[in-house]
């Protein structure tokens, strides 16, 4: 049974401008974006003029003229607001190397601040601006590498953690640390510590950090102060997940980490991805065997077809030499729009229900005839 709000997963795309090297090399712009309709057109630079450009439509399209503030206000802020109100929200960042993912998500101080610092600021504006509510904000940071989950805030980030499910609280990572933070600088510090552990850990374990996904989670608990005084506090708990998806081109060429957000036409060169290929053959059917390679999907299953507001921000480059990778990003983003839970039910055919209705009507008619007969006799 699907619990999905069909509008829950929004996909927005952002195309950066041609950089100085691309301009110096005389590269052509092959991406056209209609920011009003959300349509993106991609022209194949190697094709002749008779080949129509490929078009995709998304919930929003941001071109080189769009500002960091616009993207935050339109695509990310509604998610952060809903988390403040006690709902869950997830923001995915997707983009191949050099497409501006870091700029979109992190950016630079000031006007060029990206989604993450703006989200932090907005959370604490809300916290500091509401005197009637008692707030607690906690942060956790984990990475998934080769289907192993690690706590980036742990004293020993090499330890693997288990992903479990609880019938009340949902999916959780057993043993994951969450630190209480009281200000934007504290939140930024947590992020910085985790990033550092990610790089250090990658070096120590000889792993490629660009192949790992990371999830920075901010849990926001709010309680009405007046209600608290009367012991009738209603606590609302929202969770914001900021997900940095592994660089796709590196992932596909060196081996999949096995998440279910598979690209439509990529070829995986690593035999460790055979499981994904086979699993996809039974995708959507009720008869599949539980997946082993789904840590990311399991951790975010509320975001994918659940009752969480989700936005995926897909970044891409404009130049002709990026055609293949840009096309890949657009296909991936397009596919993300269609992620939903498939219903699971042992369903009787509709025809059987019709027959049963007919029987029911017949039964009731007979019963009424008998009862009317008895009543008349009486």
């Amino acid at each position: 049974m699907s619990g999905a709000n069909p509008e829950a997963v929004k996909v927005v795309v952002r195309c950066r401008p041609l950089n100085s090297k691309e301009k110096a090399d005389g590269r052509q712009q092959i991406v056209d974006m209609d920011t009003k309709s959300g349509q993106v057109s991609l022209r194949n630079p190697a094709a002749d003029s008779s080949e129509a450009p490929k078009t995709f439509t998304f919930d929003a399209a941001y071109d080189a003229n769009c500002t960091q503030e616009q993207i935050f206000e339109q695509s990310a802020k509604p998610i952060v607001n809903s988390c403040m109100q006690g709902y869950n929200g997830t923001i995915f960042a997707y983009g191949q190397t050099g497409t501006g993912k870091s700029h979109t998500m992190t950016g630079q101080p000031g006007e060029q601040a990206g989604i993450i610092p703006r989200s932090f600021a907005h959370i604490f504006e809300g916290v500091e601006g509401s005197s009637d509510t008692q707030w607690m904000v906690r942060a956790s940071f984990l990475e998934i590498y080769n289907e192993e989950v690690r706590d980036l805030l742990s004293k020993d980030p090499k330890n693997k953690l288990d992903v479990k499910e609880h019938k009340e609280s949902g999916v959780y990572v057993k043993g994951l640390n969450a630190f209480v933070v009281k200000s934007v600088p504290e939140l930024q510090n947590v992020l910085a510590v985790g990033d550092k552990n990610r790089s250090t850990g990658a070096t120590m374990m000889n792993q490629d950090s660009s192949r790992s996904h990371s999830i920075f989670s901010i849990t926001i608990e709010g309680m009405d102060k007046n209600a608290a005084a009367n012991s009738e506090g209603h606590i609302r708990v929202g969770k914001l997940n900021l997900v940095d998806l592994a660089g796709s081109e590196r992932q596909s060429k060196t081996g999949a980490t096995g998440d279910r957000l598979k690209e439509a036409t990529k070829i995986n060169l690593s035999l460790s991805a055979l499981g994904n290929v086979i699993s996809a053959l039974v995708d959507g059917k009720s008869g599949h065997i539980p997946y082993r390679d789904s840590k990311l999907t399991r951790l975010l299953q509320d975001s994918l077809g659940g009752n969480t507001k989700t936005v995926m921000v897909a970044n891409m480059g404009p130049a002709d030499w990026n055609y293949d990778e840009t096309l890949s990003t657009l296909r991936y983003a397009n596919r993300a729009k269609n992620i939903k839970n498939k219903p699971r039910i042992n369903e009787d055919p509709k025809d059987a229900m019709l027959r049963e209705f007919q029987d029911e009507i017949k039964r009731l008619k007979e019963l009424l005839e008998v009862c009317v007969g008895k009543a008349c006799q009486e």
Binding site: M1, G3, P45, S209, T265, G275, L281, G287, D324, N346
Partner: protein
């Protein structure tokens, strides 16, 4: 990667590619490798020389192919492709000159061909021509991947089919040579006989074998992308075979993949193949367990038989083996019911109806001595139960498997797997009940089905498990509904009140669960129902709503002077509900539910009569 006469540049390229990757410039090492190869190419061509005016056209082709393969790893894929395409004619000529039977570079048309069986014995190759073949194979594989990523799947298949033909042609040639002069060739790797002959340092067998495994794996993926699941499944099986034969598998991972492939065939009602794959899993795990037993001292107390095979697998994979067997039996039962319910010419045919239809690619030749012969497997309709006894046998085979899986997949820790497995068990009861002729036993089965789910009703937090919660409520409701229908069939005329009471209780239970399910669509707690339910769920919503309408009034069957106010209320509720759902269908013009809506209104009008009659009878003077 050895290039004839260009070993030093190849060594330099290898050194560059082995350096740690700079994350801020992830393509740099590929660019550097490409630049080295370009320098070497420039030397061959000389200043001002035409591309074809080189004294070493093979060397040029070789280097261009290598350069192209490097550039395909970067964002300069177009250039990479161009390099490879420029190199191909010369490489193909070299391969042809190496006497490759059945290979012609002009065969560039793409067409689906019956996949040949994927050989598992290693290929022995040597000589310059064969190195050209190895590079050619890499180029074909790379172009196949490139075109797949562009979404041009026919082109991708064309290149991969070329790679496949190249390998098979080479294999045929080498085997013919082996037949002529067996002793001069090195032993296959992993055969344990490497010391028997002088190994050729330029040995390329491993490279070609690995390349072919990649070809087969890529074909599996491209066919999947193209929606050709059957072809994809065959190539997935071929890949599994080659992994097994290479001896380089992680057992649990291989088993898990084989289980998933089995699930594909079970879903497609190809039960014989599904079972073959499960037999293979079981045997491999048992062989491994036996090896471990022999390696250890048997007196250490470890069990040596029975379930010893579970200990060589990761715990979750061992549970999945049980689950896969349980599902095999369950879906045989489901298919049996569907078959029984269809009549005459409408009876569905099952895929792979006999052993003759067993594809070569799906067989595991290295396991043939361990597995049952194909004739012993349940092909086609022989997999189906046609009697209650046969159905019960399948049921009895499935239940312990599901219970074993649930030993691992406990509710605390594995909510999703636990619930979905319980829903499968409920399905098992549902289908077996359909074979049961005795209504009393049938009713008991449905009641048991509902009772297995009872502890889950309301147990999950809908904020995290809305889909599963709804599934539980709907399945429970349907189980009670079926229980009520079975009781109605066996209505005991000698004890009508007892029967009516049991029916009313069952109907109330069904009503409770249907109502829970429908209420889960309200906007907030006890809020308004949305004007229209989302497309994903609307069908289930409507089915549940109609079923509720059908069972609701059954909670109050008595139409006599003993009809209570609460019974009347129930009948009024039923009346209103039936009109509401009929109105929903009409309002949204849901054509496929028009008949149901019309019947709902008929039922509503009968219920109205029942209400009137109840009131009249209630108002009559009591004797």
């Amino acid at each position: 990667m050895e290039a004839p006469g260009h070993e030093s540049v190849i060594d330099q390229v290898k050194e560059v590619l082995s350096r740690p990757v700079d994350e801020s410039q992830p393509y740099k090492h590929w660019y550097d490798a490409s630049d080295l190869l370009q320098t070497e190419l420039d030397k061959l061509r000389g200043p001002g020389a035409l591309r074809d005016g080189t004294s070493d056209p093979e060397g040029v082709a070789w280097l261009m192919a290598q350069q192209g393969l490097c550039l395909l790893e970067t964002d300069l894929r177009h250039q990479g492709e161009a390099c490879i395409l420029a190199a191909l004619p010369r490489l193909e000529l070299r391969a042809e000159g190496a006497g490759l039977p059945g290979f012609s570079p002009s065969q560039s048309t793409h067409h689906e061909q019956q996949p040949q069986s994927a050989p598992t014995e290693h290929l022995e190759v040597s000589g310059v021509g064969h190195k050209a073949i190895a590079v050619l194979q890499r180029c074909y594989n790379a172009l196949g991947a490139l075109w797949s990523e562009r979404g041009e799947l026919e082109s991708a298949l064309m290149w991969l089919n070329k790679a496949e033909r190249l390998y098979h042609g080479q294999r045929k040639r080498v085997l013919q040579q082996k037949g002529e002069n067996k002793d001069s060739l090195p032993s296959p790797p992993g055969s344990g006989a490497e010391g028997a002959g002088q190994a050729d340092p330029a040995y390329a067998g491993d490279v070609l074998e690995a390349g072919y495994t990649l070809t087969v794996f890529s074909l599996a993926q491209v066919h999947a992308h193209a929606g050709s699941k059957e072809q994809s499944a065959l190539y997935c099986a071929a890949t599994l075979q080659r992994q097994l034969a290479s001896g380089e598998v992680q057992l649990s991972e291989w088993v898990q993949n084989c289980l998933q492939l089995s699930a594909y065939y079970v879903n497609a009602s190809a039960f014989a193949i599904g079972q073959y794959l499960l037999d293979a899993v079981q045997r491999i795990a048992q062989v491994e367990a036996e090896k471990k037993r022999q390696a250890l001292d048997a007196s250490d107390g470890q069990a040596t038989g029975g379930e010893a095979w579970t200990r060589v697998l990761d715990e979750d994979v061992a549970a999945n083996v049980h689950l896969a067997w349980g599902k095999l039996y369950l879906y045989r039962l489901v298919a049996s019911l569907a078959y029984m319910q269809q009549s005459g010419s409408q009876k569905p045919s099952l895929p792979y109806p006999s052993p003759e239809h067993f594809p070569d690619l799906l067989r595991f030749p290295s396991l043939s001595h361990l597995l049952p012969s194909p004739e012993e497997l349940p092909w086609g309709v022989s997999a189906l139960a046609t009697t209650f006894e046969a159905a019960r046998d399948l049921f009895n085979a499935a239940i312990p498997r599901f219970n074993a899986a649930l030993e691992y997949y406990k509710l605390d820790g594995w909510v999703t797997e636990y619930v979905t497995t319980q829903l499968e068990v409920s399905n098992l009861y549902r289908v077996l009940a359909a074979f049961e002729q005795d209504p009393k036993r049938c009713a008991a089965m449905h009641k048991l089905r509902a009772s297995r789910l009872a502890h889950l009703v309301g147990a999950l937090n809908p904020q995290h498990y809305l889909g599963l919660s709804r599934s539980i409520d709907l399945e429970t409701a349907n189980a009670w509904r079926d229980h009520v229908d079975a009781l109605t069939d066996k209505l005991d005329s000698k004890a009508p009140n007892k029967s009516s009471k049991a029916i009313a209780e069952g109907a109330r239970a069904a009503t409770h669960s249907y109502t829970r399910f429908l209420n889960s669509f309200r906007k907030e707690d006890a809020g308004q129902m949305p004007d229209r339910i989302d497309a994903d769920n609307e069908h289930f919503f409507l089915m549940a709503a109609f079923n509720l309408g059908r069972v609701l009034h059954r909670s109050a069957l008595r139409v006599d002077q003993h009809t209570s106010e609460s019974d009347l209320d129930i009948m009024v509720q039923a009346y209103k509900h039936l009109h509401w759902i009929a109105d929903y269908v009409r309002r949204h013009k849901i054509e496929k539910m028009k008949q149901e809506a019309s019947m709902a209104e008929q039922l509503a009008s009968l219920i109205a009569e029942k209400i009137d009659l109840s009131k009249k009878v209630a108002s009559m003077p009591k004797k």
